[in-house]
């Protein structure tokens, strides 16, 4: 069966790829487009490691068919930093030691950005519930939540 030719936009750049009908966006991002920052933890939408933005909405890329992205916009972890500058969320994750093994980190950072775009001043509880779909087995979430709240303060222009 012939492959589908998909034209989309990834991290602000036009992109095109070939895929099969059953292939997920996650598979194609990694094996087709070569964007390996989006991680695979389960392929069933339960871990959040493959989180990306699709048309501005946070989604698990394992549960999106690659073909669905025709004409849409996709944003991945590779698009979070701008130029030679880390995003404040990335910087705060580093400062707070909010990662140990780091496998959940790209998904968490993409999800945190989605949170702070929607809610620039989340409470701890709001942050925890919003990020409940991003499993981390190393940290117990403490330093992650602190990094998220500190990044939010920084992005609001308040002294951390």
């Amino acid at each position: 069966m012939g492959k589908l030719h998909i034209e989309t936009q990834i991290n602000g750049e036009p992109a095109e790829f070939l895929c099969e009908g059953h292939q997920s966006l996650l598979e194609v991002l990694r094996d087709g487009v070569g964007l390996l920052g989006t991680k695979e933890g389960c392929t069933t939408g339960d871990c959040g490691a493959c989180s990306v933005m699709l048309d501005g909405r946070l989604v698990p890329s394992c549960l999106v068919l690659a073909a669905e992205t025709e004409g849409r916009t996709v944003e991945t972890i590779e698009g979070v930093a701008t130029g030679d500058q880390l995003h404040p969320i990335q910087q705060k994750f580093l400062e707070h030691a909010a990662l140990q093994c780091g496998i959940c980190t790209p998904g968490l950072i993409v999800a945190t950005r989605a949170l702070l775009e929607k809610n620039p001043n989340p409470t701890e509880t709001e942050a925890r519930y919003f990020l409940a779909g991003n499993l981390c087995r190393c940290t117990g979430y403490d330093k992650i939540i602190r990094a998220v709240l500190d990044a939010a303060a920084e992005m609001r222009g308040e002294a951390g």
Partner: protein, 289 residues
Amino acid sequence: MLESRYEAPLTVQDAVDLLSADSEARVLAGGTDLLVQLRLGRSAPSAFVDIKRIPEMSQLETDGTGLHCGAGVSAAAIFEDENVHSLWPGVAEATDLIGSTQIQGRATWTGNLCNASPAADTVPALAAVGAQVVINGPSGERTVPVESFCTAPGRTVLTTGELVTRFMIPSPAPRTADAYLRLIPRTEMDIAVVGVGVSLTLDANGVVSAARVALGAVAPTVVLADAAAAALIGSSLDDAALEAASSAASHAANPIDDKRGTVEYRKRVAGVLTKRAATIAYERAKERG
């Protein structure tokens, strides 16, 4: 699975034609159930019929008759809708409970319903507010109440060529409000062990004049616990009425033992949540008085 096609029809009729021509094709709305089954090797559709390019599938609006929600609208979009929040807070609560933030970016009421899992969160909430499902197919359009849509776990009233196109929730009567509660072991990311949706209408004196109590995850399909509703009607939600409703709900529950809960536990909790959801709905309805 290896041969699955991807189809993205632009009209309902095209979708019906695709589904009619191929009984192994499956509708792709949010994909959060369908693609999981695909990944786990439990489903191998011949084609995915993505309905999200059909314009009316993405419409979400409230008018004088109630809410009209296209089959492709995501849970996140529904939850963000001001009208849903203010008119059907219980439905909004249930919608917010479907999986994680990520899942909500994809999942739809349609999928939650068509997956026909006994534990779907939005089904009891939608049943409690009397939601209707609009179906289109080779022989035209028909409408089915949410509570009659699933016939058994994994089975629905849909026949070959048919698909859900939208949901309709009638405008709430005066002094009417709903609530939804579920029990999961964690705080998020679980399938309901028990879910309860309650909608109450009060008279001018704060006496319950109409009630619907819908139970999820305690039977093969959603249960409308009429006896529990009857126990609430005519009361001002005093302890006796709540206890009666609670035990009626426990009685109406007909669950199974599985990895998520036991028969005994589910029956008990169905009663507890009925009491609690009714209390919340009552307070909300009073505020609307």
